[in-house]
Point group: D3
Chain length 316, copies 6
């Protein structure tokens, strides 16, 4: 679909109606009063800075961060980096985000099928409640695209779903490994615990926090969604809702990590431990893909672990 | 109404159908197999331990913590303390909690009047939303009776309302002292921020945490109540609800103090600071009423401040 | 074997050559100069205080904490508690510790069989190294009896092995769930990580710390044992030893939790996470067996979680 | 008075005897041995780097950070920034600091009048003690010019006085809102608590710490000033001095925030809370004036709150 | 002088005009209205509780904590402990505190001689300043009696002086071991750093904090004393005073340990390190004198180190 | 030996077979496909960046970080900094590291002599054990060259030995100053405590961590070396080894500072305190040599103390 990806751009490349996502859009004026636009163009392979001199009125009227565009221009060297000198921008609405932002390596359809199968395995009232929330068509799309984080781990399209399904598999195993575990409650909590992230990050805007992410946060937002669904369904026993809310509320494990309450039931404890385990392992594997030295140690310390870590797989 | 208060009991006092609240009820059996009941009897002046030998079936069937009773028995010395040897218990439902538990010194009617007046001072949609929640007759009773804490500060019937109104007066002052403050939002947030405490503590049971207090907590519960009210009213702008939820969510000020998000708007910052100020001052004044030495220093360190503090008022 | 267990003792019971473990032995003299011995007698059901007046020389010469004895005496009430008035003590060496101290509920033979099977599943050089250390006959006995902790979790005979095998099952699952995991290294590290606890706690003395536990600690002791074994075997590649030492050294996960280094390889990270998970779940389940109130909440906060927790299984 | 302000400078502007404050003055030599002077020129609108080649002896002899000068030179572009090529510097002593450094927006005369009025409202001996210290003519000038901080809040000329008066108004309100407050002590403490900042920051040198600010600090310095004044006045009761010293010593509220003792009296607690409130609110409002995105969120996290915050007032 | 010491008292001992220090004095009344006095009698060997029934008016008028008395009465067993039944108390003013409170094992005269010698070794102006403060006759007595702490280390009469002299010897050694150390400044700071403790603890009242200790603290008090002395002497260079104040202010090393500023000069760093070293070693040696088990480990964890420690000397 | 040192290089200088250490070696290719090598050349006076275009195969085959070379090329200005344009590199193996890396100012021979003398002063079995480890010829060379840290303090060749000997002198003094100190144990522990640093840092590679430093760390490595030596010697009493291991294990003093156990014996406490003292003082003196302002304060805060500090010696 795209002719050029940012990671392959070379000085002198000419771009014609090339698909990009706009970010960090800023209007500026030179000291002599000549107006120009600075922005970042993004696709799934990276980000590049761009400039557009003397933007015509019919473009400046709609241009802003988060827009998808067809860009015409040329790649030049500017201060030791590549920059795109832009000559035209056309608004575009039909593109697939997967070309523009990094995505999970698991196919989305496969993940959604696994999700549906898992929901079907739940007994009532869990199945009714979870499917009411997650299988709503509009919401499912958002849910299947949400990133799990801005950085650190699963910070890409589909990250929430990939992380959720990995946790689900582990949770299922532990529900049979340990005694007394309410498997339906644990799996329901696992599937719903991060769904608030659908409104926490602005997928089209660098995975930045949204207004709701800043003011409310994904934990409280998910709880509100559960309570609303239970109210609309009408027949979910209050104790079940309360238990489920507890799992979501406490899944970060500690107050200082953002949970308004700490795990006090066996399922809440398991959900927290599995979340911790999966995000740590994924954070490790993702950081291990950054630059390593000749002995396989990452050059930079992992922001999650504060140490340099050793890559567990051979050089590519 | 009551003939004896616990703080005045003497060995040998005979109690006949005296009003008490039961707490810490436990069934026990001696090594020889004789059954007896241990419990605490409570009124607003204190708590005393009690024993009831060979409890008849028609009493043991209903007796439990939180029941209000008319007790017949006698105060005896037992191991250096007073204990009531109980001979009869009659279930009672009409008593006033104010006789049985410590209460705010401000008359409840006066506080409710001040609350109504404050709500009337709010512009729309705040007035509609806040009155819909707080002036609901059933809820208002709970709200006006809730303690603000289990210990530390305002740990008595009416404590939430007394604390809320004190904060409201300060918040009103600061809304005019500082620029840019949205007074209606700040006052609405002040009135609602602790309402979740109506379900957090078991008023009849030593102010212990309830199931909901443990699993959900007063912050998240209040948010759920606001969202539900907004949904039922139908016409409250979502931005207003979001702002208000932010105030409630962040009023503890820091994640490690139990807030799932930290204050990010001016009104949220003010609400947190006023809550901190009022609870600290009240915690200081309450601890200053405990035993002091001859120089006016409390004998024990304040659990809130970790230090002994100096009483600011003369000895009684 | 035993006629009386401490949990069943009643005032007036006469004990004749009853098997106990001595603890907290202290020689005292009354103000009038009469000598007596104070000690605790322990069996798997609990601990009881005991006194022995005018101990004859042939007994006082060997009596000390950690001795197993046949005790003759009588159970009396003393200051509201039971106490054994002792009249004779006979040194005993053949008793089974399982009668005297709490034990894992898993049969030891079954656990050892599972351990052997796991070691056999390892590829070389891991299998040679691990079996050289763990399957040494003398050491295996200590290892199979060691408690995993003094309190908190798995604080009973066989606790280390039970905990290790539970972790092993989870580790095996995760080795196939996540990519790039060196399963042999992870399982070897799992089996060896807590073996230093064989010398950290004094099994016969209330699970107290030993001299080595205080001065060296189980992490460093295990590392010394691995290095010594590798030196004696002579042909274990140094990189393998280094990797394994890293797993043991870092399994507490953080410096402040006692690890001299933090996990920097994928297997070290997994070992730490699985250790954390299994000890937290077990600590939860053990605390849930303490007293609960009528709603199933533990009366005391868990020392591990700082909160009261909800029992996940029905009342007994 | 000034013809050019730094915020308005353009490349090519010629400056003739323009008033600036010198900062960061450093003598350098090129690899070829040609001497030059690097420095920053500052006025109330900002800071600009400057260079002066081949400085004549009669200038190099006195030039140093903190001097006020009349500068002649030209603004040039150098490495993407503006730099002043200086050709002459004349020492100047009569300028008003208000042209050279950022100042409070409240007129100084108005603030001093409010200060005098407040002091007059105090009863004795507080009035005598406070006026002896603050109304000393020399000291009052320093006090009215001192910044409250190097950054974070009230970091401008007059910041201490503005902050102090805002706190005074709130303290006065709280003295009547809460019972048992000694209003005179609280107001006296409020007026004096930050006076040590007159010697903590070098007003003419980027608000950097002075030798005394580094070695002694503003809290201890203020206490020394109070003790010295009390000694000179001779008749202030020692208990009053001790109480006042306690307020100053404890106003940061916690040891880790630099107070050598923590608040143990009601007035000390109130002073700390009001200081916290006013500095937080002012820190919020100041950070809200930095760059915000299109939704009104600051681009950078507040150094005081660690989060991005939402601007409470409309865009300029 | 004394006929009985508390550590040797036996039931039945009759005391006639025996010297004690009164502590924890409290007037009580039985339920029947009979008045009595409860108090602790203290001498250098320990503390014992005492009761005095029907205290005559001429005694109750002056009796209070901190009084030294000649006591007449009898030692009885009461609830498993010894208690003195008192029949007379005579006020006494001439006794030596060394009989009544634990003291340093170094003779006071020897320590004062060493102090004088050290002061004489200082160059000017340090010698003049330090001797003016410490060799003042009244102050020297207080200084030579002050305890260094309430518990933890050197918590006995003369503790400050003993600790100071030990630090002085180490500081002297380090002043020659490391380069650039101003020995006079370091020794002067060492001698003065804890002198504020003369007013921080109430030597006659259980080493409790005094009003000044609570409100001002020994660090700030010592600084005030230095500033006052410098002002009275008139000719001490301000830089010297400032340096010395910095040493005293920063000697706890960190803000959270109560220092209002942290060490920023070489001498301040050394003073802090030597203080830390000497108090830790002394705290270790003192705790090692508490009960140990058969392997020489203290039974209780050290409050300073949080661990049980190993006694470095043989059993007595 | 060398003709040019990096600190003296000027643009245009021609280097012929000049001795350097290679670091940060990286192979790169221009966009046009021309290969070049980027690296840092280091000598004891500093580091300079270098470029080598079109590296011939016989050089690229061996070139890597840590190699010592004879370099031919020319110093040029490149982007405001000096850079060496390299034309030839010859591998070199005989050079002295002291020309290439910063070294202790104490002559190595002198330090080794002092070390030998100290070991001779130890009684048995300490002397035998310590000399067996440290006086091994191969190891002694590594030990005498090891840096004590990567930054912060003693971060230069010979730093471990210099730091160790300074600590030894202080420890010797304290062993006589305090009672009950086992001087031989303390000195043995002092000499061995940091010997693991011989394998923790890569002396030839910027003092970076080695594989062993990252996975095992210097504390555990030193313990393994002690245990191995004791095993090889065969006749060192186990208690002595255990005591010594405790000193090494606990010398960082706290778990969060990387010690797997905390000091529990008098000698372990002393070793920790002396290590803390000497590293703090040295860290202070080293930072004091960085840039200072006109009042002698360092321009940057010390990474060890977080504050700017005052230089204790006059300007050079």
């Amino acid at each position: 679909m795209k002719s050029f990806y940012i990671s392959d751009l070379r000085p002198g490349d000419d771009l014609v109606n090339e698909l990009f996502l706009l970010q960090d859009v800023a209007s500026r004026t030179t000291k002599n009063g000549r107006p120009f636009l600075l922005f970042s163009a993004r696709d799934k392979t990276g980000t590049i800075s761009a400039v557009f001199w003397d933007v015509p009125e019919h473009i400046s009227s709609w241009v802003r961060s988060g827009e998808v565009v067809l860009l015409t221009g040329r790649a030049n060297n500017y201060k030791d980096s590549l920059q795109i000198s832009t000559t035209d921008l056309i608004q575009n609405t039909t593109s697939q985000m997967a070309e523009l932002l990094p995505s999970s390596q698991r196919p989305q359809a496969e993940m959604i099928a696994e999700l549906r199968q898992t929901i079907e395995s739940l007994s009532e009232p869990w199945q009714r409640l979870v499917s009411y929330i997650l299988l709503d068509k509009t919401f499912l799309t958002q849910y299947a695209n949400a990133p799990a984080a801005r950085q650190m781990h699963h910070a890409y399209i589909g990250g929430v779903l990939e992380h959720t399904l990995s946790m689900k598999t582990i949770a299922d195993f532990l529900a049979s490994h340990y005694p007394y575990v309410n498997r339906d409650l644990l799996i329901a909590g696992t599937l719903l615990h991060d769904m608030g992230k659908t409104v926490e990050y602005d997928v089209a805007g660098s995975f930045n926090f949204t207004e709701d992410g800043r003011l409310v946060g994904h934990i409280v937002r998910a709880i509100i969604m559960i309570e609303k669904a239970a109210q609309e369904l009408g027949d979910i026993p209050p104790e079940n809702v309360q238990q489920l809310v507890h799992l979501v509320a406490s899944h970060h494990g500690k107050l200082e990590w953002g949970s308004p309450t700490e795990p006090k039931t066996l399922e809440a404890l398991l959900l927290h431990q599995v979340d911790l385990l999966d995000s740590r392992v994924q954070g490790f594997l993702e950081h291990a893909q950054t630059d390593v030295d000749e002995n396989g140690w990452t050059v930079k310390p992992s922001p999650m672990f504060r140490n340099e870590i050793k890559r567990p797989f051979p050089a590519e």
